[in-house]
Amino acid sequence: MADYTSLDIVQRSASTDQPPTVRSKTEVAKLIDVSRCIGCKACQVACQEWNDIRDTVGENTGVYDNPHDLSAKTWTLMRFTEYEQTGGELEFLIRKDGCMHCTDPGCLKACPSPGAIVQYANGIVDFVEENCIGCGYCIKGCPFNIPRISQEDRKAYKCTLCSDRVAVGQAPACAKACPTGAIMFGTKEAMIEQADHRVVDLKSRGFDHAGLYNPLGVGGTHVMYVLHHADKPEIYANLPNNPHISPLVNFWKGGFKIVGLASLAFAAIGGFLHYITAGPDEVPKSEEQEAAHDAEGYTK
């Protein structure tokens, strides 16, 4: 196995002091071949067990998806879609949902807490819970709607791409558990090459629009999909067609940050000038009496 072990940080949320040196820059990726997935949920089991997270036992709501959504204790999830082609042929599309580990991570960009979200040199985007303030901005920043805030500790959680396993040269737990090889893991380069082979096979089986999902709107991802219908990613349980970081986040961390700082400065200067010109603000006696009367009313 290649050396995926670098956990050198290349990006850190809300910080100006980005790490100066990085030893290796071999990017890793998980390739999920949707055309080989049988929806057995072994990846969900592996994720629960490796990360020692257990969601609540839910109920059946008329679909195979369980749990029904990602949560602080469900970091990956099979999403099932019954899709009817225009000719009436049915397809049962099964997509393993979870963090895409974007090259340009919207969560990290949106995060206001220094060091709560980091990106390693191998491309993995990780949440560092002790630095998390639970503001939920990462959710707003994510174009894939992945992070979830825990109701127990008010911190944000998501798939770590098993950064702890990868750090010691192991594949993520889900990839290891997948019985059909639908989840593959390796260098990003190798995964793209693997995907090329799969696309050729799928095209030979009549899927003319088969392709790799590695959206450039977020700079590419470190979790990629092989899709039979790469021209219509949205049919796979609303996989975004052209994901990008919300302009609000870009504005908030870009232009708005400067405007915000400027307005803070403006308010401070304004306040000072007001003090100089108008003097301190004083409360009239009548108002103080009124306030005392109200307070009495409360104590009674």
């Binding site: 055309s35 049988i38 929806g39 969900q44 036992v57 059946n60 019954e82 397809e91 049962f92």
Partner: protein, 811 residues
């Protein structure tokens, strides 16, 4: 499986019918994906539901539950009509040219010799014509009107694609598309693998479903071939072991049979087991039956089995009926004729058909013993769980003993998988609390019963007192001790085939060394070779795979004789050359058979000896026509399920399989389509394993609650939305479930009428971490396969309506 899991990767076409392997066998299904990715294989799924297996298929075709034979006989007709046979294979390796006795026929859905009263056949005419030389008469030109090939053509003539559409509801164009693909494997260098499971066996004609595909595979020359075969995917990690060791009321280990009552002496018993070859020079390996039987008796009764007492033949129970199968057992229990029941590792209350009958039967017993590592509904059958188990505990006097056992990770031993591999495993941890292994419990039980017989005597204590019990610790035999006994050992000096002496007290190398003179003992002849003087062969873990054939001969051990692909002699042409280089398994090198697998054949028998590759059959060839070996016919014929939305279009007067046994009370409880219009079927879900994993929180999270699946059309008719509660009922019971409304089930157009399918999964109950629920067995009819009595769980009738949630008892 005639082949094995890893071999699936060599298939060019894979047909999953009568099973849902991606969901029921997700780990083994990796080989199907491997075949698709690396061998450009095409996957076909034929199923009433668009399953998760169908989600990765190249072609999916719907089919009405219980109509597989109509479909498959039509495939046979297609192959015959379009001349898509592997002719050289068919001519040399099947009984296509054998002449059948005069008088054999098939009319109005019945073969010759039917007795309506007995629901059974006189099978006298279902035999070959025997010539003056004492052998079956064969017409190699296949022109004789009574030769098997001509009879087969005649038999399948009515199964047209149009009839398939009318019976099965499978669209004609899909059916033909599948036929074309299947037919591509009639050439020598392409093979098709048939994967099936309970979707074929859970029918009143389950054995014939499998026969129907076997005929297709024989005509295509796909048996004994790399990437071919008839592959039964077993539902338990060791259910293959259960059948191999003969855990049926009418079997002995190694597919030997328990004597019938009329077989009073050993000579009577052996008189039906001569297996005289039906063609000159054929192997007819069952001629060794006596060696396997005597060695078994020596293993079981040791010194007490002697030549003088016919190897303790009298100790064996004699059957007064064909078998005490579970359907018969609970029929008897319902009449109060069974007072106690030992339940080892299964959950009959939720598994056997007609749950109400189960509850009544258990309530009439004096005691039941439940041996299980987990809580089962059966052990709690007397508890009130509201609508989920509506009983009055005060009215039930049955005493229940629960004996906690170890689970697979807490004990040592071998598991026999679908590939016939015996794989040794070791305990990963100590058993909790009082749990003991099943072996220890059974051993202790035996010793106590033996002590009682010793003390009190009895009508016939000998079979109990004389059981051979050579274990170091009497109440805890070690798995390796049992494995050595199953393999077999010498009791005196014997000579092997080369004349070399094997001294007494040694492990035999294989069943070829077993004798019928009491000098060898062997617990299960097909397993002989698993634990030899070289050690425990099942514990081998070398996955080296010469030639990338997927054989890996030093990984664990496969029965028989470590052979990985059965009938592999048929992978070569009659001259001993592989049919195709890319499918090469072995070949004749001029003096012996050499190659990747252990030959299923005499290792030095030259091709010119004309010994057929099907060495177990007295014919030496495979049977397209099975003579009188099956109760319901020498060819598969279409019969409707006992409860069906449609009359049998090929024989309107016949209900169900005419040779299936059905008890009076159960017959009276069959429903009619006017009251129960929907075709129900049951199945497993990938998230759960039987009744185990509902106790595991992880699995309960993945699939938390019982449901039924219905089409959008039926949902609209009944005013049901996704996630609503529905009530489903049959004449035998009623259940409530959440509704999964899906496009994956569609109404089937059968003979101009829409048939709605209702899918009902197994797994749920009123114990465990999942939400309380029901199982399909509350509704299913008590009738089984004509040959083996496997219940008809996969096709029956129900009605359905929208309802309110079930009531639970107040705590």
């Amino acid at each position: 499986m005639t082949n094995h899991w890893a071999d699936i990767k060599h298939a060019d076409v894979i047909v999953v019918m009568g099973g849902n392997s991606a969901e029921a066998h997700p780990c083994g299904f990796k080989w199907v994906i491997e075949a698709k990715v690396k061998n450009n294989a095409k996957l076909v799924v034929i199923d009433p539901r668009f399953t998760r297996t169908a989600s990765v298929a190249d072609i999916y075709c719907p089919i009405r539950p219980g109509t597989d034979i109509a479909f498959l006989n039509a495939v046979t007709k297609y192959l015959l009509d379009h001349d898509k046979l592997q002719h050289e294979y068919v001519n040399a390796y099947t009984n296509c040219g054998f002449i059948v006795k005069e008088g054999f026929g098939f009319q109005d859905g019945l073969f010759t010799g039917y007795d309506e009263e007995k629901r059974d056949y006189d099978k006298a005419t279902w035999e070959y014509e025997i010539g003056p030389d004492g052998y079956a008469v064969v017409d190699p030109t296949l022109q004789h009107p009574r030769c098997v090939m001509q009879l087969l053509k005649q038999h399948v003539a009515q199964y047209t694609p149009e009839l398939v559409e009318r019976i099965c509801g499978s669209p004609k164009e899909k059916f033909l598309q599948i036929c074309e693909l299947i037919a591509t494997t009639s050439v020598p260098d392409r093979t098709m693998s048939s994967l099936y499971a309970l979707g074929w066996t859970h029918h009143s004609k389950g054995s014939q479903n499998i026969r129907a595909m076997t005929i297709v595979q024989m005509l295509l020359g796909n048996i004994g071939m790399l990437g071919g075969g008839m592959n039964a995917l077993r539902g338990h990690s060791n259910i293959q072991g259960l059948t191999d060791l003969g855990l049926m009321s009418n079997l002995l280990p190694g597919y030997m049979t328990l004597p019938q009552e009329r077989e009073v002496t050993l000579a009577d018993y052996m008189s039906t087991k001569r297996f005289k070859p039906l063609r000159p020079g054929q192997t007819s390996y069952w001629q060794n039956y006596g060696k396997f039987f005597v060695s078994f008796q020596k293993a079981f009764y040791g010194k007490a089995a002697t030549k003088e007492n016919d190897w303790a033949y009298d100790y064996l129970p004699k059957l007064d009926v064909l078998a005490y199968d579970v359907l018969r057992a609970f029929e008897m229990a319902q009449d109060g004729k069974i007072s106690g029941y030992v339940i080892q590792g299964f959950n009959p209350l939720m598994s056997f058909p007609n749950r109400a009958k189960m509850t009544e039967a258990f309530s009439k017993m004096k005691f039941i013993v439940v041996m299980d590592p987990l809580q089962t509904e059966t052990a709690r059958f007397w508890q009130d769980h509201g609508e989920y188990n509506a009983v009055d505990p005060k009215a039930i006097q049955t005493e229940v003993f629960e004996l906690p056992t170890t689970c697979f990770a807490e004990d040592e031993g071998s598991l026999s998988n679908s590939s016939r591999w015996l794989q040794w495993h070791w305990a990963a941890q100590e058993a909790p609390a009082e749990a003991r292994s099943d072996i220890d419990i059974m051993a202790s039980l035996h010793l106590r019963i033996k002590a009682l017989y010793e003390k009190e005597g009895g009508a016939f204590p000998d079979p109990i007192l004389n059981v051979n019990w050579p274990y170091e610790i009497e109440d805890a035999p070690r798995p390796d001790e049992l494995a050595r006994e199953i393999n077999g050992y010498t009791l005196a000096d014997i000579k092997d085939a080369s004349g070399a002496v094997i001294p007494a007290g040694k492990q035999v190398d294989g069943f070829a060394q077993l004798t019928d003179d009491g000098t060898t003992a062997c617990g299960c002849w097909v397993y002989s070779g698993c634990f030899t003087e070289k050690g425990n062969q099942m514990a081998r873990r070398d996955n080296t795979d010469p030639g990338d054939r997927g054989i890996a001969p030093n990984w664990a051990w496969a029965w028989p004789s470590n052979r990985r692909i059965l009938y592999n002699r048929a992978s070569c042409d009659p001259q001993g050359k592989p049919w195709a280089e890319r499918k090469k398994l072995m070949e004749w090198n001029g003096s012996r058979w050499v190659g990747f697998d252990v030959p299923d054949y005499g290792p030095t028998v030259a091709p010119d000896k004309n010994v057929g590759p099907f060495i177990m059959n007295p014919e030496g060839v495979a049977r397209l026509f099975v003579r009188g070996l099956m109760r319901d016919g020498p060819f598969p014929a279409h019969y409707e399920p006992f409860e069906s939305p449609q009359a049998n279009l090929t024989a309107p007067k016949i209900r169900g399989n005419p040779a299936s046994r059905i008890f009076k009370r159960d017959l009276a409880q069959l429903g009619e389509p006017k009251d129960y219009p929907y075709a129900a079927t049951s199945y497993r879900l990938t998230e759960h394993f039987h009744f185990w994993t509902k106790h595991a929180r992880v699995n309960a999270i993945l699939q938390p609650e019982f449901f039924v699946e219905i089409s959008e059309q039926l949902a609209a008719e009944k005013g049901v939305s996704r996630g609503d509660w529905v009530r489903v009922w049959s004449p035998r019971g009623s259940i409530k479930a959440k509704a999964v409304v899906t496009k994956r089930i569609k109404p089937l157009m059968c003979d101009g009428k829409a048939v709605h399918v209702v899918g009902i999964p197994h797994h749920f109950g009123f114990t465990g971490s999942t939400k309380p629920g029901f199982g399909p067995n509350s509704l299913t009819p008590v009738v089984g396969d004509a040959n083996i009595e496997t219940p008809e769980f996969k096709a029956w009738l129900v009605n359905l309506e929208r309802t309110t949630p079930p009531a639970v008892p107040v705590a």
